[in-house]
């Protein structure tokens, strides 16, 4: 009932599904839309941005900033960050570590029962 759809234009869908397959699925396939800075602990696990004291400095307990480029995977909270760097690339502007006045984690709890919404 519709004409030819150019499914090759589904660039986000294709990139996202490819990233999921490459990661063996398991959720954390958020792809950075811009160079992104996050916070990781001493073991390299992603933690809330508030744990990193400043954009560049270290935080308590070995927390420090971690940088990924556009198109790279952003790990889940608690997951070890891979593929990025603990040092920013020269000349690249990264999305900032959240200010102290920003709270996160206030949504998403209900989904913990079954890991997603799906099938509605």
């Amino acid at each position: 009932m519709h004409g030819k759809i150019d499914f090759s234009a589904l660039k986000v869908t294709v990139a996202t599904s490819a990233a999921l397959l490459a990661s063996g699925c398991g959720g954390g396939a958020l792809v950075a839309n811009q160079p992104t800075r996050m916070c990781v602990d001493g073991a390299g696990r992603r933690i809330a941005d508030a744990n990193c004291g400043s954009a560049r400095g270290g935080g308590a307990g070995g927390a420090h900033a971690y940088y990924v480029g556009r198109g790279q995977r952003v790990p889940e909270m608690g997951e070890v960050a891979r593929g990025g760097s603990t040092r920013p690339s020269a000349g690249v502007s990264y999305s900032s570590v959240s200010r102290g006045s920003v709270s996160r984690g206030g949504f998403g709890r209900s989904a913990g029962f079954h890991g997603g919404f799906g099938g509605g």
């Binding site: 869908t13 699925c25 200010r99 920003v102 996160r104 984690g105 949504f107 919404f117 509605g120």
Partner: protein, 380 residues
Amino acid sequence: MRRTPVAPRPDWQVRVEALGLVWHSMDGRPYWDESACYRFEPREIDEIEAATAELYRLFLAAGEHVLANDLLGSFGIPEPAWAAIRRAWDEEPPALNFGRFDLGYAGDGPPRLFEFNCDTPTSLIEAAVIQWDWKEAVFPALDQYSGLHEKLVDKWRDIAPLLPGGHVHFAHVADDAGEDTVTIAYLRDTAQAAGLATTAIRMEDIGWSHDARRFVDLGDRAIENCFHLYPWEWLLAEEFAPALLESLGGTRWIEPIWKMIWSNKAILPVLWELFPGHPNLLPASRRRLPGGDQVAKPLLGREGANVSILRGGEVVAETGGRYDESGWIYQALYPLRDFGGGYPVIGAWIVDGAPAGMGIREDGLITGNTARFVPHVIED
């Protein structure tokens, strides 16, 4: 309407994965099942399409009735949200106004409504993309009831001038199967095809700026417009609920909060009360129906959870789940017909309130999250 076997494409897994359907199999069994298809006559599609348009008309009337009679409390909707729901219903903030009517249909009587999934409907990419691609490969000369993709792009184009900044955040859960993640990716593609910029964000990454009194993304950029694949009743039950209600003047949430009226199964008894005997409805009540076989469903159930089928007062089938605290409705049992592979349920889509296509899922007597999606064609 009939079901016939079809030889699956030898590389079907690769093909559907390439188009985004990474959750094509579950526990070693196909979820996307192209070993068969349903074949419809054009008059049957016309019947489903007409019923879809008619049901939308009934839902409009039922929504007006709910608000005029102050029924939001009886729907289990928290009182702090009532004013926002009324305002959104009246003002109609930008929305796709899309959803999936689940219908009982076997070609030998009018389609009957089971429920309306209109807050966060899924099985979208299967209906919009995967089954069309399958049809083009396997039955290129036949047609399919599938206009979903174009209508989504058209609707984004329609509401784009109402979305400040021309940018939409797409919020979702990073689910294990990838279904929510890819569904969001597909919806971003439809928005981008309409000229909008998009960003995906996980629900837990949404931030609330206490200085700006705004929701922000991981880059602390204000979230002006937010599509959410996350039910309103969950949003309002979580820590950010007060901030969410405060945000409604500054953030356009798509779909809007008024969808809490239609996505709640308490709407089904309201529909039957307003339109008793309507050929596209099943008798429904907040109390057990006085006689006959019936289905008990939780008000806010999803994926077929916590549903019980009662025959002669005895439970003959039931599913577990965690939705049993929201209250119940009872709906007359529709005699689903087994076409040889399970019981099909028609998922009839609307976009902008207009019929847009359909998908079919097969399962046992209760269609849950283990159902199989089976494609369809239209024969002349």
